[in-house]
Every structure is written in structure tokens, then in C-alpha cells.
């Protein structure tokens, strides 16, 4: 994946166990300045986005996860989990910035620090 970030100066923080996130569901990680949503798709892939829909700020972590997308719980925009951008009729309405995430030994690691803010 071509992450739209520089990962220089990044540290990876353990935020929980892979199994803590339900399949086709999400959990939140609290940080200063807003939550981060960590999603697990039907095929056990993980994605992380800033937990804020670009439309009206809805908490994406609370939406229905389908394919590699989530439906925002407030107004049902479909957000691509890989890019954080709305797809379909709402394309071009901004972006919920992605956060690099990976799994190691069953633990979820989130990229933190400069460059990992998904700007």
C-alpha cells in the first residue's frame, strides 16, 4: 500500500489484541484530538482511519463494515477503508485520514508520532 505518509520518526504502539476487534466490526483508540477507528474486515484485514466522517464528523467506528468499506452511521456515506475517501455518489467529499496499522504476533500496532498523523 502506498501510504500517504512519511513514516520517518514513526513509532509503533501496541493498542490491543487482534481478537479484540470483531470481524466486520471496529474498535476505537483514544488519542488527543480525536479517536482512531481500527477496522477488521470479513477477510481479517485491518485498517485504521481517523474516526471522523469527512461529511459531518460521524464516528466511522460505529458503522457497518462491508467489503473493504464502512457505512457512516450518521448519513450512510460509504467510506473506502484503504483511502478514507467516500466512494459512489459522495466521491470527492474529503477524507478520513488513514493511519498505518499492522499486526504482529496477534497484537495490533498503530503508527504514532510525526508523519503518522495522516495529513
Amino acid at each position: 500500500m502506498n501510504a500517504p505518509f512519511s513514516l520517518q520518526g514513526t513509532t509503533w504502539r501496541d493498542v490491543g489484541a487482534f481478537d479484540d476487534v470483531p470481524r466486520r466490526g471496529a474498535r476505537r483508540v483514544r488519542v488527543q484530538g480525536g479517536d482512531i477507528a481500527v477496522f477488521r474486515t470479513h477477510d481479517d484485514r485491518l485498517f485504521a482511519l481517523l474516526d471522523r466522517c469527512p461529511h459531518r464528523g460521524g464516528p466511522l467506528s460505529q458503522g457497518i463494515v462491508h467489503g473493504h468499506a464502512v457505512a457512516c452511521p450518521l448519513h450512510n456515506l460509504t467510506i473506502d477503508l484503504a483511502t478514507g475517501r467516500p466512494v459512489g455518489p459522495d466521491e470527492g467529499q474529503g477524507c478520513a485520514p488513514p493511519v498505518p496499522v499492522r499486526v504482529e504476533d496477534g497484537r495490533i500496532l498503530l503508527a504514532c508520532g510525526p508523519g503518522a498523523n495522516g495529513r
Binding site: 500500500m1 504502539r13 501496541d14 493498542v15 490491543g16 479484540d20 476487534v21 470483531p22 470481524r23 466486520r24 466490526g25 474498535r27 476505537r28 483508540v29 483514544r30 488519542v31 488527543q32 484530538g33 480525536g34 479517536d35 482512531i36 481500527v38 470479513h42 477477510d43 481479517d44 484485514r45 485498517f47 481517523l50 471522523r52 459531518r56 464528523g57 460521524g58 464516528p59 460505529q62 458503522g63 457497518i64 463494515v65 462491508h66 467489503g67 473493504h68 457505512a71 452511521p73 450518521l74 450512510n76 460509504t78 484503504a82 485520514p97 493511519v99 498503530l110 504514532c112 508520532g113 503518522a116 498523523n117 495522516g118 495529513r119
Partner: protein, 829 residues
């Protein structure tokens, strides 16, 4: 690099010692001999007391399809002819790297110049109580197969722990030998490293047809024995599975003990570089004991590739192993399963999905950057090798994308033709509809000879596309090609969503008629084009399944809208509102006090009366929900379902208790109705009211179901609305007693539950299906009414549990809190 002609027989050969007489060790030797037959004097040590055989074929031996003799790869003559000394049944005890010598059991010593480690892997044995009982076996070598066969007896039972490739083959083999076999698998997907949920569902079904039961998401707790032999397996959930033999097939672990003791670099396996050399240049390693670029392998194809690289290294060339792409086939006869590569997609991947319900076929191709990145095939896997080739060669497939999923023959036969020409080019006996076995010729004849001009006509006349509907586009193309411009594509019922062409009616009917009891079952039978549906169809399917199979279907929280998942109402700022139930709008000092306490304790910013006669607590943070519920529960209150496609409120006036005009006990009836109906899921929200007289203070005539009390009894009203649309109710009928009123309302609620489309309010359902018809069923046909009321009561027996209490009892609602709190900033702007 070989120079056989320059070599004198008397020249002292280099000594090559091989530890491991299995598939990898012998194949490595074969590859070396092929390149340079005279270079080495070869000695092989094997732990098993027999010649080299094909471990992959142990499953057919277990099933009785092959004998041991059939699966021998290298017989005694091979060792003799190639001058190989074989020490079978002599496990190696030690490698002395200083002295360059191997020491084996029985005092055998063998000096080496080059050493091949091919020690393979060991099956993992779960450390369960009773794991050492007689009859508990793994599935790795011929001894295991013999142990299993010794336990086979008529009417015997076998349990296999592990639903991976080996476990399933073991269970199938034992079932072929006449045992009743059950596979117990920890995950919710069989062969989860190779299959997705859709393929796993089909596999489960196919295995069942072959006498193998599967239990998913099952944790083993202990093995129970009697007289030193296995008797049963006990699961964590308390179930006890009786068995005469128990097979553990839960994975393998590289056997790297010798290498480790000799001081070689070992992680999970013996670490090798691309030349297959270990940290000691004199020692190479190959097979399942190896770790290459962090990867270990348990399949045969990569091992063959390793053997070639290793043979290059040992014959003076530069071995160069680059790692292997993996593909898998399951060896269960009549069950065609193939998996390769990124079978479950990933970032930047696209899926092409094909399902044919009639033939039980599921195919999923994963594309990445216009290339095949992976595949899962079930029921029709002949093209697996072709997809695997496309994947490994990285071929650009955008030119053949349209036909790719139909396989090599279709793609290469139709390349370059436009789609309608492709249809025209189909042979008359090519099958179009797999469900009903209809060929192209039959459809064309129906159009040409029988005057059929529409899709419906084709369906009626030939049955093509009348079942799962996945061949509809093809039938339409045939109509177009045959009729030309005379054919116009019709618009059928509006599809539920983009995942499938069916309307709600068709899906609801199929769930009942075809006995579909899970979401994967529906998606397969009705040819869903996505692997896991979407946010429109999943909640609808979840409701339809729940309604059709009460007590059987397992509700899927992840297919519910957030409000029904967290049992509260999401607000614009991501906080929630909480509404406890107040039966018939009644409350008490105790309840009000508990509400006041909760408001202060959790700093709830807004408290408001709702239109449904209860109290709304707004602005509760998600992590506070379990705490709020616990306190409300403690005061005897339960969830008001103010958030659900479910029974909301039963609004009442004070009736004969207090009102000077009241004709009946409207409050009491409202409480009874709410106690009877609460907890039920409905297609859309369901609001009731009971008014004590025609002055109608409870506004019963704009509710989904209303009751207006009169002197002589109870008028039951149906189909009002006071939201987006304003609509007064229609009178459904009149009842003489409270009991009759409750039966009528139960029955009409159940009818709506069984017929309504997801998100369709009562008034729309009534308009679509007709008030007269509903009245006929409920008011004029006592038997139908009683049956509906009985079905409602049965469904209610599974749904009247307070969801708040269930969540706080289950895990304290811990997963409502963030899973971590990090001190740093991730500012997005």
C-alpha cells in the same frame, strides 16, 4: 558443472549425508544425482523404518483408495542402484560440526563433507488433559494411519480436532472406513488459511453429505478416557463428543532440534539463505524444517522448488530460491476446492465473484493492479492451475477481465469478440442456466418458435434464470441477439441492493422455501455478487433470517445498524441517547429517582420527555452506556428499544382508572400489550397506542397499530403514520374482550413480521398487500389468526430478554470503551 568423463571411479568422492528419508530429503538427493550422478557418496538416515514414500498420499491410504505399496516413491532398488546407504529406523542423535560427523542410534557414525538437513516437522499435540490416552493420534506418518485403522470398527465414532486440510482429509478418510466422523474447529471458517467464509460454508455442506459433521468455533477442553483408552472429547461449552479414536490435526512445527543443538541459527525453523545454506556453509537444509525469508512451508510444491535450488548449490552452481507462491487443493473425492495467493483480497484489491447456486459453485478471483493476486474456487476448480499460472507470471488481464471468471476455455475462446457476438458464438448445447439445466438452443427455440419476447416469457417457458437468477444477463443477451431491437430490457421488482438482482419478496420467499438458515447460505443460493454483502442487504437478511428461523438463526450483531448493536440511539456528535421502558407510559418514584441519580452520576446533559410517553437521556458517551444500564436495571427498568426496528412504545390515556369519559381500562390494556409485544424485531419500527374512548387522547389513530376503546369493546386500527407521511389508520376490526384484542394484535404483528420488507412501515405494507386481504386473514379466519398468534408467541420466547442486562452480564460491556488510550496527538488538521 559436472565432469563425469574426467572422473575416475577410484577417485575419493565427497561424502554427502542426508538427515531425513522423507519427501524433501529424497527429492533433494534425486535432484543432486540428476545434475551430477558421480559427485557424492551418499548416506541417508531416516527415523521411520521404511523406504521413502509420498506423505501427501496418506489420506487416500487412510480412505482405503490406495495401499502403502502404491505410494512408495523410491523402493529399495533405487537406493541400491544409486549406491546410497540407507539407515532406516536410525534416528540421528547428534551433529558434530567440529568433526564433521553425524552420530545416530545404534552407534552408527557417518562423516560428511556436505550435510543436508531434511528433518521435516512434527505434528503439534495439544496439551489437553487425557492427550496421552490410547487412541489419541496425530496424522503425520504411516504409523498414525495404522493407529487410526486399528481403531476402525462398525458403528465407531471418530473426532478430529482441527478443520484444516489434514484434519478434513483425516475425517473424510475415517468416514470412508465407516466411522461417524466429526471435525471440531476452533475458528468459524474451515481451512481459514485457504478459504473465505462463503467457500467454507459450501465445504461444510459437502462434507456433511459425505458423512462428516463439523462443529465450528469450538474449543476443546479435555479428553475423557476409560481403561486407558479414549472415550470422548469434552468441549468448553460443555458438549461431550463420544469417540473411539481422536485425531489431533492442529498444525505442524518445524523439527529443528538437531540443528539447534548443533549451534546453527534457528528461529521457527532452520534459517537458510537463497542458496538453501544454513549458518554453517557445509550444511544445507530443505523442506518443512526450513525457515526462508521468515517463511516456513508445509506444502509440497515449494519443497520441490527448494530441492532444485539446493541441488544447484551442492553441484557447484548458485542455488537461488526466491520463496514460493502457494496453492492448495483438498483431496476429498467429489469436492473440488482450490485456493491460491491472496485469496481473501487486501488493500487495493478487487474481487470478481461468481456463484451458481444450482451446482454449488463459488468462485472468487482477487485482482490487484490489473493482475490476478489470488483465487478461491469451490465446486469447479479445473481452472485453478490456469489462474495460478496467471498469478505467478503476473500477466496483465485487463483485456480478458469480462470472461476471466468463466475460466480458460471461455476466455481464450471468446477473446476479442464483443459480448453479443460471444453469445452468438455459443454452441446450442452450451448450458446457460445451471440451476435448471437449460442450454442455449432451448432458449433460442423458445424465442424463435414459441413467440417468447421477454425475460419472464423465457422463465415461464424454459425455466432458464427462474431460480437463482445469476444467468439473467446472459438470457437477456440471447433475447437481444435473437430479437434484435424488438427486445427491450424490462425492469423487474426493485433489487434490494447492488449485491444481487432480487427484490425483497423473492429473497424472503427463498429463505423459507429453500430452507436457507444462514447469511452465507442465502448469498450462495441467490448468487450474491459480493463476498459479504453491504450495509443495505446485511441488516435486511439478518432480520429475515431471524424472523424465519426463531431460536435457530444466530443473530449477527455486525449486520445491524449501530443503534441496534449498542442498544442506544446515536446522536450527531457520536454520543448516544438512552430510553428506559415505561410500560404503558407509567412510572414511579423509584424509577424517577434512579433516572435522576443516573443523570447526575454520568453528567448526562439533556433529559427530555418523548412523544411516546417516556424519558430520553441524551448525550451519553458510549463507554458510559453499560454503567447507565446497570443502574437503570438495578431499579427494575429495561431497554425501551427506542433505537430499533422493533416494538417501541404503547402510548395510553388514563382510561377508566381516572377519566370521567373512559369506557375501558386503556392503561391496563396498554401495559398488557407492551408486556406481550416488547423485544420483538419487526421490519421497521412499530408504535402502538390505546385510547380509552373515541376522544382518542392517546392519538391511537396515527399509530402503526391503535386501539380505540368504546362501550361495547375495542376497535383495532391499522396503518397510521405521523412522520414523513401523515396518515390516519383504517379500522381492521372490532373485538369484544381484552384477550381477543391481544390475539388480533399479536396475529397482525406476526403477519407484518412475515411479509413486510425491511424498513417498510405498517402503512406501506398494508397499501402494498391490501387491507381487505389482511382483514380476511386476521378477522374472518379464526384458524389463521390463532396460528399467527402462536407463531408470534413462539418467536417471543427467544426475544424477551433485556439486551442491556445481557451485555452487562456478558462481559461488563468492556468493549464499549476504547481499546486503548494513547497520550500522543494524531491531529488531523
Amino acid at each position: 558443472m559436472s565432469h563425469p568423463d574426467l572422473r575416475e571411479p577410484a577417485v575419493l568422492k565427497e561424502k554427502l549425508v542426508v538427515i531425513g528419508n522423507g519427501m524433501a530429503g529424497c527429492r533433494a538427493v534425486t535432484e543432486v544425482i540428476k545434475r551430477d550422478p558421480h559427485r557424492y557418496e551418499i548416506t541417508i538416515f531416516g527415523a521411520e523404518p521404511r523406504v521413502n514414500y509420498d506423505r501427501i498420499m496418506l489420506s487416500p491410504v487412510l480412505a482405503g483408495d490406495k495401499a502403502f505399496a502404491d505410494i512408495v516413491i523410491n523402493d529399495a532398488a533405487w537406493y541400491r542402484d544409486n549406491g546410497i546407504a540407507l539407515h532406516a529406523g536410525s534416528p540421528v542423535l547428534e551433529i558434530d560440526r567440529e568433526a564433521k560427523e553425524v552420530r545416530a542410534e545404534g552407534g552408527i557414525r557417518a562423516p560428511y563433507d556436505r550435510l543436508i538437513l531434511a528433518t521435516g516437522s512434527d505434528p503439534i499435540r495439544l496439551p489437553l488433559p487425557g492427550a496421552d490416552l490410547r487412541g489419541v493420534v496425530t496424522f503425520r506418518d504411516l504409523d498414525d494411519v495404522e493407529a487410526m485403522l486399528a481403531a476402525v470398527r462398525p458403528d465407531g465414532r471418530a473426532v478430529v480436532i482441527g478443520g484444516g486440510l489434514l484434519g478434513l482429509e483425516a475425517a473424510y478418510g475415517l468416514s470412508r472406513r465407516g466411522m461417524a466422523a466429526t471435525v471440531v474447529h476452533l475458528m468459524d471458517v474451515l481451512m481459514e488459511r485457504q478459504l473465505d467464509a462463503s467457500a467454507s460454508y459450501l465445504l461444510e455442506k459437502a462434507l456433511k453429505e459425505r458423512g462428516v459433521e463439523t462443529i465450528l468455533s469450538a474449543q476443546s477442553e479435555a479428553i475423557i478416557g476409560a481403561g486407558g483408552a479414549v472415550k470422548a472429547l469434552k468441549l468448553k461449552d460443555g458438549r461431550v463428543l463420544e469417540c473411539d479414536v481422536l485425531v489431533m490435526a492442529v498444525g505442524i512445527r518445524p523439527n529443528a532440534a538437531l540443528a539447534k543443538a548443533a549451534g546453527l541459527t534457528v528461529n521457527r525453523g532452520v534459517v537458510v539463505n537463497d542458496a538453501m545454506t544454513t549458518s554453517d556453509p557445509a550444511i544445507v537444509a530443505v523442506g518443512e524444517c526450513v525457515e526462508h525469508r521468515g517463511q516456513t512451508y508445509g506444502l509440497v510444491a515449494p519443497i520441490w522448488e527448494m530441492c532444485k535450488a539446493l541441488a544447484e548449490t551442492l553441484t557447484g552452481a548458485k542455488g537461488d530460491y526466491q520463496g514460493s507462491a502457494l496453492s492448495t487443493r483438498l483431496k476429498v473425492s467429489g469436492v473440488d476446492v482450490f485456493s491460491a495467493g491472496k485469496f481473501s483480497g487486501g488493500v487495493g484489491c478487487e474481487d470478481i465473484v461468481f456463484r451458481d447456486a444450482g451446482r454449488g459453485v463459488y468462485k472468487r478471483l482477487v485482482l490487484e493492479d490489473g493482475r490476478v493476486a489470488g483465487a478461491v474456487l469451490f465446486g469447479e476448480a479445473a481452472d485453478g492451475a490456469w489462474y495460478f499460472d496467471l498469478m505467478r507470471s503476473g500477466a496483465e488481464i485487463s483485456q480478458m477481465r469480462e470472461t476471466l471468471i468463466f475460466g480458460q476455455a471461455a476466455t481464450e475462446g471468446l477473446r476479442g469478440q464483443d459480448p453479443s457476438a460471444a453469445v452468438a458464438a455459443m454452441a446450442d448445447d452450451n448450458e446457460v442456466c445451471g440451476c435448471n439445466g437449460v442450454c442455449k438452443g432451448e432458449i433460442v427455440r423458445a424465442i424463435q418458435n414459441d413467440g417468447v419476447t421477454s425475460l419472464d416469457g423465457v422463465r415461464t417457458r424454459t425455466k432458464a434464470s427462474a431460480s437463482c437468477g445469476s444467468c439473467t444477463p446472459l438470457v437477456e443477451k440471447l433475447l437481444m441477439a435473437t430479437l434484435g431491437s424488438a427486445f427491450k430490457v424490462e425492469t423487474g421488482p426493485k433489487p434490494m441492493c447492488k449485491c444481487a438482482p432480487h427484490g425483497h419478496e423473492h429473497v424472503r420467499r427463498a429463505i423459507v422455501d429453500q430452507d436457507l438458515r444462514s447469511m452465507p447460505a442465502v448469498m450462495q443460493a441467490l448468487a450474491w455478487s459480493t463476498p459479504d454483502g453491504c450495509s443495505s442487504c446485511r441488516p435486511a437478511l439478518n432480520y429475515y433470517l431471524l424472523c424465519a428461523w426463531p431460536g435457530v438463526y444466530q443473530d449477527d450483531a455486525q449486520s445491524r445498524f449501530v443503534n441496534e448493536r449498542v442498544h442506544a440511539n446515536i446522536q450527531k456528535d457520536g454520543t448516544y441517547s438512552v430510553v428506559p421502558r415505561m410500560w404503558g407510559g407509567l412510572t414511579s418514584a423509584k424509577e424517577l429517582r434512579a433516572i435522576a441519580d443516573v443523570v447526575e452520576k454520568f453528567s448526562i446533559p439533556t433529559v427530555k420527555c418523548t412523544g411516546g410517553q417516556r424519558i430520553d437521556l441524551l448525550g451519553v458517551r458510549k463507554e458510559d452506556l453499560p454503567g447507565v444500564w446497570r443502574d437503570l436495571n438495578a431499579a427494575g427498568m429495561v431497554s425501551g428499544h427506542a433505537y430499533g426496528k422493533a416494538l417501541r412504545t404503547v402510548k395510553t390515556c388514563v382510561g377508566t382508572d381516572w377519566c370521567r369519559f373512559g369506557t375501558q381500562d386503556s392503561t391496563g390494556l396498554g401495559v398488557k400489550l407492551e408486556k406481550h409485544l416488547w423485544g420483538s424485531w419487526t421490519p421497521a419500527k412499530l408504535k402502538l397506542a390505546v385510547s380509552g374512548c373515541p376522544r382518542n387522547c392517546a392519538e391511537a389513530t396515527c399509530k402503526d397499530i391503535g386501539v380505540v376503546c368504546v362501550d361495547s369493546g375495542y376497535e383495532v386500527h391499522l396503518g397510521g403514520a405521523a412522520g414523513l407521511h401523515i396518515k390516519g389508520t383504517e379500522v381492521l376490526g372490532k373485538a369484544a374482550t381484552e384477550q381477543e384484542t391481544i390475539e388480533i394484535i399479536s396475529a397482525v404483528t406476526q403477519l407484518y413480521r412475515e411479509e413486510g420488507w425491511y424498513l417498510e412501515r405498517v402503512y406501506k405494507w398494508m397499501a402494498r398487500t391490501g387491507l381487505e386481504r389482511i382483514r380476511g386473514l386476521i378477522m374472518d379466519d379464526g384458524e389463521t389468526r390463532a396460528a399467527l398468534a402462536r407463531r408470534f408467541a413462539y418467536a417471543q420466547s427467544f426475544s424477551q430478554a433485556d439486551p442491556w442486562a445481557e451485555i452487562t452480564d456478558r462481559d461488563g460491556g468492556g468493549d464499549f470503551a476504547p481499546m486503548a488510550v494513547l497520550p500522543m496527538e494524531f491531529a488531523a488538521e
